[in-house]
Amino acid sequence: MTCNKIIKAGIAMVVSILASSCIEPTEIATENFENILVIDALITDELKRQEIVLSRTFRFEDSIASPEGEALVSIKDDVGNEYVFEESEGGRYVSQQEFQAILGQEYQMFIETTDGQSYASDKVMFQQKSSLDSLYAVRMFNDDGVEGIGILADSFDPTRNSAYYRYEYEEAYRYVAKEWINFDIKATTLNNGVISITYEERSVDKRTCYNQVPSNNIVINNTLSLAEDRVKEFEVKFIKADDISIADRYSILVRQYVQSREANAFYETLSNFSESENFLSQIQPGFINGNITSTTDPDLKVLGYFEVSAVSEKRIFFNHDDILSDLPEFRVRCMETLVPPWNSLFEPIEDYLKRVQSFVNTGVFVLSEVPLIPVESGGPVFLKPRACGDCTVFGKSEVPDFWID
C-alpha cells in the first residue's frame, strides 16, 4: 500500500494517469467519538448454550473494545419460551440452558444495560436449514494472478428457500521447525558476576506446533440470480502458495449460515464500507442501522444485528505436498549467525561471554549446533533465527482435539 512515487522514465510518463495515482495510509484521529452499544447476537439451530456478545464502540487511539457487562439479556420465542442469558466473562453472555432455533418460530431479543437503556430487536423468523454439501481445496490463481489454494464450497437447497449465505471459518495448521535440535544454550549471570554458559534439553514440543486462526472478514454470497439454490465452487478463502499456513499440513473448518435478506444486507453494507473496490468511485458511507432499536429512546444509536440462522459445517485437511508439491513453500531463512568471536589478544574472556549472553537473551535466536570448543574458552557460538528451531514462534505444541494427521 505504499505509493510508488518514482515514475519510471519513458513509458511510465505516458501512462502516468495510473502510475501517479496512488493510495496511501493516512492517520485516523477520532473526532466526535460516540459511545454506542454494539450487539453481536447469532442464534443457530445447533443445540448448545447460545452466545451473545455486548461491547461498546471505542476510539482509534484505544486498542480494544470495552465489554458491556452486567446487562440483562434474554430471548423470547413466539410459543412462550424465554431464554435468559448470563454473563460468562466480560461482555460475553451465554444462555442458562441449551436451546436451538426451531423452524418456523419467531425470536426476539431484549437487552437492558446498566445505564438504564432498554433495547429490543425485531422479531426474526427462523426459516431455513443449511446444508454445506462439500468443501474442498483446489489449486488455482487468484484475481491478481497469484497461485495458491482456493477453499471452495458447494451447497444445494432443493427447496429453493435459501438464497443468502454467510461463511465463517477457522483455520488450523501444523508447522514443523525444520532445524530443530535437542539442545538450547543458556547464559546466566551468577551471584559473583561470572557468566555461566549451560546447555539444556530443548523440548520436542518445540519441533511441531499447531496454530488456530478464526476468520475475521465478511464472506457472503447469494444465489439470487441463479436458476437454483446451488452454491458451486464458491471461494471461501484463498491462500497464497507461500503462506505459512500451508507450509506443512492445513485444516479448515467452514461454517455456512443461511441468512435472511435483511441480515445479508446488513453484512453486505458492513463489508462495502470496509473495503476499497475502486478508489475512483467511493461508496457513500454512513451509520448502519441493524434490526435492534432502543425502546427507551428511539433516537439512540445502536449497532449490530440479531440473527437467527441455520448453520452447517465441514472440515477438511490437506498437506502442502498433496496439492502444491512443485511450488516452493513458506520457509524461514535459516542463516547462521556467528557471535563476533573472542579476540584473545585484546579482550578478556568475560567480555566475550557478555556478548554471547546479550545475543542469547534477545530471544531472537536459537542454538544452531552445540559448540565443539567450550564457549568459556572462547569457542565460537553459531545461532539461527528462532523460528528455525522453535515452532512455538508460530503456534502451540498441543495437538488440537480435531486434528488428524
Binding site: R59, A227, F287
Partner: protein, 921 residues
Amino acid sequence: MKKYLIVIFLLCLQTITSQESASLITLSFDTSDLKTVLVQIEEQTSYKFFFQDTWLEEYNEMSGSYNNLKIESVLEDLFKDTVINFYIMDKGRVILTQNNVIHDELTEDFFGKRVQENELVTEQGTKVVSPVFRTTSRSSGTKIETVRIGKASKNNEVQKLRLSGYIKNQQTGKPIPNVAIVVNGKNLGVETNAEGFYEVQLNKGTNLIEFNSMVMENSKKRVIIYNNGNLDISLNESIELLDEVILEAEINKNVEDVVSKTEVDVEESKNIPLALGERDVLKVATALPGISTAGEGAQGYNVRGGKSDQNLILLDDAVIYNPQHFFGIFSALNPFALGDVNIYKNGIPASYGGRLSSVFDLTTKDASTDKIKGEGAIGPVTGNLLLETPIVKDKSGLMVGGRGAYANWLLNSLDEESLKNSQASFYDVIAKYNHQINDNSKIEATAYLSRDDFSITSDSLYIYGNRALSLRWNYRFNDKNSGKLALSSSQYNFDIEFDGQTNDDFELGYRIDETELKLQFKYLYSDRIKFDYGISSKFYLVRPGSIKPKGSESEIVPLEIEKERGLESAAFISANVDLTKKFTIDFGLRFSMFNALGKGTQNVYQEGAPRNDATLTETLSFDTNEVIETYGGPEYRFAARYLLREDFSVKAAYNKTFQYIHILSNNTTVSPIDTWKLSDLNIEPQSSQQYSLGFYKNLDNAAYELSLEGFYKRSKNILDFKTGAEVLLNENIETEVLQGKGKSYGVEFLLKKQKGRLYGWLGYTYSRSFIQLDSPFNEERVNNGDFFPSNFDKPHDFSLVANYKITKRFSLATNFVYQTGRPVTVPIGRFNFNQADFAVFSDRNEFRIPDFYRLDIGLNIEGNHKRKKLAHSFVTISIYNVLGRNNPFSVFFITEDGEVKGLQSSIFSVPVPSITYNFKF
C-alpha cells in the same frame, strides 16, 4: 497640433476680372459646361470666380435659365447637383470649393471638443450643426486613400449620411457579394448583396471604411462624407490569406446581454495546460466561477451547488449523458469539432428545460464548403484527427473526426503489479454534414459516438458509451420570422462483464434512449420586442438493467428489470423587450409536463410509514402507453438588465426548473455505471428556484471584463439513498431512495483580460451547497434531518488562467487552482463485530479532505510562418501539477485482517509532463 484646418485656398487660380456691381443676373444656357457658364456670369457682372479647372470638368451638360436673379440664388441652383460649394467674399470675389464649405466664423466646438464620430453617434443628438473638419492622424503607417463624398451644406443637420455603391472584382469585373463593410473598426453588420451593392450609414465627417472579404484583398478608404453619396470600389483578388480576419463585434456584449451566458473560447482553450496535454473545453469551463467538479478524478460537473445530473449537456441539440472519458479525466468531445460553447447557469432561456442547474449548449462548427481542411493532434495518450471536405462547393460540407487512446498496451507492459490487470481504452467519433440550401434554408446533421472500456480487476470489464444523432433545419421565413426544427436522438449505455472462475459469470447491461422533436421560432416584432417560442417533446425508453449468463457453465438466470417509458413535453415562449434604451427584460414561460408511461408495474406503499417490503400495500399494473402518473407545471424564467452606463450594467434573474430524470448513485462521486431513472409513481420530479443579481463592468474599452454575481437557490426532491443501498438491478428502488431539499448560495467574481500580450482570467467563488434529508422515520433520515454540506461543497474556489505571448511563435500559459477540500464522512470510532473491527460512521460529510491546489505550466510553440508549407503546426509542452502537490481525492477506511485502516487516494500526485504535437492544414 493634432489637428489643423485645411481650407482650400487660392491655389493656381485662374483669375477673371469683372466689374464690381450687385447687379441681377439674367442668363440662359443649354448643355454647356460649367466653366463656360461661370465665364458668362463674370461677363455680365463684376463677380470673379476662383476655382480649379479640374473641379468643374465633370459638369459639362449644364442647362438652365435665370431671369433677374441674385447671384446667390443662381449659384445655389447651379451647384445644386454638384459637390461644389461657394463663398462670396467682399469685392465680388467668389471662392469655389470642392466638397468643403467655408465657414466665416468658428463653430462653438472648434477649440474645445474633438470632432469625432463618437459624439455624433447619439443619433437624435443635439441640434448643433456640426461642420465637417478633416482630422488626420499623423502616425498613419500605411497610405490610405482619402475619398470625399457629397457636398457639405451649411445647415445640414443630418448626422447620419448614406453611402452606397457597388463592389466589383478588379480582375473579372464581377460583383462581389458578402463583403463586410467595417466602419471605424466597428462591424455594423453591413455586407454587399449578391449584386455587390451595399449601403451603409455613416456619421458625417471622416470615416475609416474597411471592405473585408474572405476571398478578396481587403481595402481601406478614408471617406470624408459631407452628404449622401456614392462610392464604387474595385477589389483585387486576395493572393494569400495569412490568418482569419477577426471582426470584433459588440465589444460590450457581456454587459448588454440580458440572459448572461458563460462562453468558452474553443480556440483559446488550446493554450491552457491540462493533464497529459489533452485539450478539454469543458475542463476550461470548470476554471470559471460557479462550475466545478467534485475532484480531479470525479465525473460530471457541479454548477452552483447542483448535483452533477442537473446539467443539460447538448451537442447540436442532442443530449450527451456522459461527456467524459475515463472517470472524468478526459473530455469525450472532440475539441477540434466544437464551434461554440455556451453555458447558461444564471438565467436559463425558456427554450431549454429538463435539468435544474445549467445548460451546456455545445455546437459543432460548420464543415468547410470551399476546400479540404484538416486538424490533428498527437499526444502521449490519445491521437486525434479531424477532416473537413466540401461536398457541393460553397453549399455543403462534411466533417469527420475521430479520437482514440492508445495507452492500453503500454499499461500492460509496465512491471507495476497494481497496473497489470488494469486496462483503459476509449474512442469517440463525430461526423457532421451541413448544407446551405439557399439563403433562407440550411440543414445540418450530426452523429456522435463514444465508448470507454476499462477494467480494474482481471475478471471484470466495464464498457460505457454515448450515442447522439441530430438533424436540424433552420429556415428563415422573412426578415422578421425564422424557425428551427430539430430532431435528436441520444443513447447512453453501459455493460459490465464478469468472467471469473465460478458459476456466476454474467453480463449486465443498462441503456437509456431518448428521442426529441423540437420546433422553435424567432419573431422580431420590432426593434424593441423579440419573441422566441416553440414546442418540444421527448420520448424516453430506459432499460434499467438486465443480467444474463456469460458462458455455458454459468448458472445465472437472465433477469430484466422492467423497462421505463416516459414522455416529456414542453411549450415555451419568451419575450425580450427593451422597455427603455437602458432597461431590457426577458420574460420566459415554459410549461413542461411529464407522463410516466406503461407498460409496467408500480408499487403502492402505506401512507405515513417508511417504504419497505412490509408497508407495500398493492402493486398496480399498467398497459402499454397507459399513463402511470403525470407531473408538470409552469417554469418561469425571468431576466432583466439595466445599463447604468454604456459599459456597466446590473442584471437580475429568476429561474424555476423541473427535472424528471435522475441519476441513481450511492457513491460520493458519480461514476459511469450509475443509472438514470425516470420519475414514476413513487419518485417525484426534482424542482429548483434560483434568484441572482449581478454587476457587469467593462474597463478600458472592454480590454477588461469585470463581473460580480450573487445567487441563491432552493431545490426540492433531490435524490439520495439510504445508507448502504443497493442500486443496480434493484426492482424496488423506491424503497432505497430518499428525496430531500437542496440549498445553495454564493458570490462569483470574475476578472477577464481579453487583449494584449498577457491575457486570461481570474475567478473567485465563495459558495455553499447543502442537502437536507428529513423524515419522521429514523431510517429515512440523515444527519438528524438537518441540512448538511453536499459532497461537492467547496466554499472557496479560486482559479487563475494566464497566457503570455512572448513572441508570435512562443506563448506561455499557466493555471492555478485553489479549492477548499470537499466534505467526506469519517468514522467517529470503531466497533468489534464478528471478530473484526469496523469503523462507525456517523453524520455525513462532517470532515473535509485537505485543500486542493495545483499549478500547471504550458509552453506553446507555433510552427514557422513560411508561406508555402504543408501544414500549420504547433507543439504544446506542459507540466501538470508542477508543485507535485499530492491532492487527496478521497479518504476511506477499510478493514484488513480485522483492523481498520484509513487510506487516502489521489489521482495526480506528482508533476506530469507531456508533449503534444498539433497540426492544421
